[in-house]
Symmetry: C2
Subunit: 262 residues, 2 copies
């Protein structure tokens, strides 16, 4: 039996999220069905994270076991010939038996796109939140800096979800405008439920001048979801990369996820 | 009666091209149906160009007549509330009675996207041609220069179509690589049938090292479709902008098309 780590991408538009749900089209169900056909035995995958309905991925990581003798480096091409066109297999590696795509991850990189032009792009409508009012990008950049470092992100945590500690480390947050499109890239050790989208919703209110950039500090301090901004819609969000620690990883830089050093 | 110029965008994936065809979903049919509902009288549009099945637009231009008193500047927002999500109305202006979106156009700008990474992006699969083998962008840039200026583009003209002269002026051609994505932007006074896609197909063969950049010169000279490269697939192509002459236009620079000076 081999333990395989697989990097996948998907267009979340037509899925009810990653996780299997009875009677609904999900990424997990389509992926497991395809793996089961290709590998000729039942396959269950573990994932680095469960993306919500409408959220996309360019670098989701899953793992599974197989007894199939197909060479691991041929798996992506073989899978892509069988997968529906909105899921792409990017890279496969054999990993140690105790590898876990979620618990071994040291950080996740999410990107949120905002189409900030008077009228929406027809080609970005599935992948970007269209906001016609011009956003103050400098104010958003300034506000984002308050989030860097280790904080209690309880204010950016969807209510109803209780998973213990709400302390996370934001390692990087970049707000960049190119053409009429603003991208917000966030890297944290882990994200709370809806955290990326609540951060974006709050940054947008600051960009619209409804709040001052300095408010970000008091929002963090409040540890209260009701003081933060609205939750941004899911379709602008994309899981770009999941990184694994130095002990497991030789390459941090690619959008396809780190390469396993086993 | 008012004569209206309307700039639209669309995701061509789920359309059988722009032009009305009985029993098939086309951009023209959806647009005319929506205009007819909004304006409360039958509407027929004229377009700057007929894009093929699968080809996208960010700056297609149409015109139509209306007796509806709705203010022209409110048209895009009103239309967007009624249009299917894969068509976007971007900008409306009243124009002179003799304006013609096709015959008055002085140039068209097309962009072709190539996803040139080992495995395809899940988010670009509808909008870019995935070529896993690394392309030599410098060779493609060099070859593209031969196309600049006034030439007989008969070698880049799909056979079977006969429209008289095959002489066109290529005003600009830019090959740019950013990340793993190559964009080829072409501006010409007009394009022959499949011309943009045959140029891209030929540039790709040069990028793959199957032909030398200098061959572009002899391909042009041959005036023979059979010597040029294959036709690139439609889904990488997007009509970005239609420009109108100085007499009609005050603004050339935006992706939404020039503003009418009437």
């Amino acid at each position: 039996m081999k333990h395989i780590k697989l990097v996948i991408g998907y267009d979340g538009t037509d899925f009810h999220g990653f996780q299997r749900q009875k009677g609904l089209r999900t990424v997990q169900e389509e992926l497991e069905r395809t793996l089961t056909i290709l590998l000729r035995h039942p396959v269950r995958v573990k994932a680095a994270g469960r993306t919500d309905t409408g959220v996309h991925a360019e670098g989701q990581v899953v793992s599974f076991w197989t007894s199939c003798p197909i060479p691991v480096e041929r798996l992506p091409l073989a899978l892509n010939s069988l997968l529906p066109s909105d899921i792409v297999a990017k890279k496969a590696n054999q990993v140690s038996p105790n590898f876990h795509p979620r618990f071994d991850a040291t950080s996740r990189v999410y990107r949120y796109l905002i189409d900030n032009r008077p009228t929406p792009s027809a080609l970005l409508r599935r992948y970007a939140w269209h906001i016609p009012e011009p956003l103050n990008v400098e104010a958003m950049k300034q506000a984002a800096q308050y989030l860097l470092g280790v904080h209690d992100f309880a204010s950016f945590h969807a209510s109803g979800s209780d998973l213990g500690s709400t302390v996370r480390e934001m390692k990087r947050i970049a707000v960049v405008k190119r053409g009429g499109v603003i991208s917000i890239t966030m890297e944290a050790n882990a994200f709370l439920y809806h955290m990326a989208r609540i951060i974006v919703g709050t940054l947008v209110e600051i960009g619209l001048g409804q709040r001052e950039p300095e408010e970000m500090h008091s929002i963090l301090e409040a540890r209260d979801r009701s003081v933060a901004g609205k939750t941004a819609p899911p379709h602008g969000l994309c899981l770009m990369q999941v990184k694994y620690g130095k002990r497991r990883c030789t390459n941090h830089g690619t959008a396809e996820g780190g390469r396993e050093a086993f």
